[in-house]
């Protein structure tokens, strides 16, 4: 087996690819899409440097989903060039900063920089690892090509780098990220029932939910950032992408013996949240620290267990809908904040059968209406196995928010929803 399927570290290549990426996207916007904001030149650059940061008025999906995804491309030019997680993070920041100052005629947007940088790092590392898991340097033929193509939507920069360097067909060893040792993939399709989505009547629609748990916090020692992460995607038949939430372990330290019945671990996680539907828009980037615990039930190490989590959250930049109060065309606020997350559930091999989850987040507006927002999300999820891999899942949640403005009455709303789905679960674990 050859080992040259793995890239050698090259920071200059990553920086160069970031500049090329920005230039190509900017020229496509300017020449093919005729966007005025993309028609930059030395005059726009000088103005941007002179005036500095501002907040922009783009839509919620553009700012809180598209920009972090764009940031993940910058980050993955670093990963595709052999750089580590920590070495690739500044590449995401450089890509975002250079785009804001040199690729738009509008003033550099602070919210874009923060969401593209921190959201880009979070999504980028997850997508990089998902891509490496899908790709297989030991595979051959059509199977190999199919895997390379399947990884492209997650990690296009990694895929293109491999294509141009002739690695789509070359045999070799796989990187460590290819095999997370433990994982659980669960996908479900079914119906979604939501009240107050548009009005007080019950809205019914189709829904798809995908959950991936990569690695297991209790399967081994902490190795590298994001060696354990979880990501959830929700797509509805009405409105399309509804939610994308991800959390990756930046650092972990065991607080108890690995053979103990009750195990605790201190962890620091980097989070990305995006929830967007007609009733609520909430998202942002944050870092949380707290304790993960697993309470083994019975004598078997690979048997059932109860998992709990208690985390405190520092929200670097949050975004929340605030109709009629945002800045200009924008109908949502930006601001930093703090929060708490708690969770309890029953699992086996990392696959959850029952989960209770609560999250409280406070956001103080730094751009938009002068306000303080309090968000409370409570979730109950149940998965009942029918066969080895197929089961039925019931998920309910209540999103409750309270906003206090300095110059208008408070806004209190709640929004309940339920999902009833057929789920398919696949996983592997190392006890």
């Amino acid at each position: 087996m050859q080992s040259d399927t793995l890239p050698r570290p090259n920071a200059f290549r990553a920086i160069g690819q970031t500049i090329v990426l920005n230039t190509v996207v900017n020229r496509l916007d300017a020449w093919a899409r005729n966007r005025d904001w993309a028609k930059v030149g030395t005059r726009a650059w000088a103005r941007n440097i002179r005036l500095g940061w501002a907040w922009d008025q783009d839509g919620f999906a553009t700012n809180v989903f598209a920009h972090p995804y764009h940031g993940s491309l910058y980050f993955n030019t670093g990963r595709a060039s052999g750089l580590s997680f920590l070495e690739s993070a500044p590449i995401a920041m450089f890509g975002s900063w250079s785009w804001e100052y040199f690729c738009e005629t509008e003033r550099p947007s602070l919210n874009d920089f923060l969401l593209s940088s921190f959201g880009g790092v979070t999504l980028g590392e997850m997508f990089h690892r998902i891509g490496e898991t899908i790709r297989d340097n030991t595979a051959t033929g059509l199977h190999r090509t199919f895997r390379e193509l399947a990884a492209m939507p997650f990690d296009p920069m990694g895929g293109l780098n491999r294509l141009f360097r002739g690695k789509w067909k070359r045999l070799g060893i796989n990187p460590a990220e290819h095999d997370p040792k433990a994982y659980v993939l669960r996908v479900g399709v079914g119906g979604r029932f939501a009240r107050r989505l548009v009005n007080d009547s019950m809205a019914r629609m189709g829904t798809f939910v995908g959950d991936l748990s990569y690695g297991d916090a209790f399967a081994g020692k902490y190795r590298t950032p994001f060696d354990v992460f979880s990501i959830r995607l929700i797509v509805n038949s009405q409105g399309g992408l509804n939610a994308l939430n991800g959390s990756g372990r930046l650092y972990g330290r065991a607080l108890s013996d690995s053979l103990s019945h009750i195990r605790h671990q201190f962890a620091v996680n980097q989070r990305y949240d995006y929830v967007n539907n007609p009733a609520q828009s909430f998202g942002g980037v944050s870092v949380e620290a707290g304790i993960d615990s697993r309470w083994r039930l019975g004598a078997r190490r690979d048997g059932f267990g109860i998992r709990t989590a208690l985390f405190g959250d520092g929200i670097i930049l949050g975004a929340i809908d605030a109709p009629g109060t945002g800045t200009g065309l924008r109908d949502y606020d930006f601001g930093p904040g703090a929060g708490v997350r708690w969770e309890a559930g029953l699992d086996r091999h990392g696959a959850r059968f029952f989960t209770l989850l609560g999250r409280v987040a406070y956001i103080h507006t730094a751009s938009g209406g002068a306000a303080d927002h309090l968000v409370n999300v409570s979730t109950l999820e149940l998965a009942i196995p029918v066969t080895h891999r197929v089961g039925i899942a019931v998920q309910t949640s209540i999103f409750d928010r309270e906003s206090h403005y300095t110059n208008r009455p408070p806004d209190k709303r709640d929004y309940p929803e339920g999902r009833f789905m057929l789920v398919w679960t696949k996983g592997a674990s190392t006890p």
Partner: protein, 209 residues
């Protein structure tokens, strides 16, 4: 040409001093609990949503850092940074006696790429700002000031160099930028939306490491 080839051959064949097999372990830049404080001149640029231009001026800056060590080349810390401008206020039209104080409280990472004292800094945290502008005289001839405070988020990036003066102490030179997003600021009858203060400073500090 012959002379050049002969010279190259001589250089290639010339015995070179052997490299040491075991390089001395580099000294850690900072150990255990470390602290640092310093001051220097700064420049602040204040912008807001809907503003067609920005205003800027100079002021004095000071900072305090305390932290621990993650690895040989990376340290983590908490930084308090403040810039006080006492001749400028909030806009150039504000009279003398106006003050604007902006600052950040951030978690910072210092990365030392090599054995020397050069480091790069990045951090994120909370920001605060207080703007005080003399207004009409109050009763008894006292000067009343319109004061407004704002809070939000702060970012910082920078570069610095630790110059060791002993095993325990170092002089530290810094150049840094700070972005503080403060939200709306209201002074008197003025309402300014989404204020962002960008600060740049150079400073010299004393590090206990």
């Amino acid at each position: 040409m012959k002379h050049a080839l002969a010279l190259m051959t001589l250089v290639l064949l010339c015995p070179r001093p052997a490299l040491p097999q075991h390089l001395p372990t580099p000294e850690r830049h900072r150990r255990g609990l470390w602290g640092e404080f310093g001051f220097g001149p700064g420049y602040v640029r204040i912008a807001c949503s809907g503003c067609t231009d920005v205003v800027g001026t100079t002021g004095g800056t000071s900072y305090l850092r305390i932290g621990g060590v993650i690895s040989r080349n990376v340290v983590i810390g908490f930084e308090l940074f403040s810039l006080l401008d006492n001749a400028f206020g909030f806009t150039p039209q504000d009279s003398a006696g106006a003050t604007a104080e902006t600052g950040t409280a951030a978690i910072i990472i210092l990365w030392y790429p090599g054995r020397h004292g050069l480091y790069f800094k990045g951090g994120v945290g909370a920001a605060f700002g207080q703007f005080s502008i003399p207004a009409d005289s109050g009763s008894g001839g006292t000067v009343v000031a319109d004061t407004s405070t704002g809070g939000g988020m702060g970012l910082t990036f920078g570069v610095g160099w630790d110059i060791a003066i002993s095993r325990k102490f170092a002089l530290t030179a810094n150049a840094a930028s700070f972005v503080t997003a403060l939200g709306d600021v209201v002074t008197g009858n003025r309402h300014v939306d989404d204020v962002i203060a960008s600060m740049y400073n150079i400073s010299i500090g004393l590090t206990i490491r």
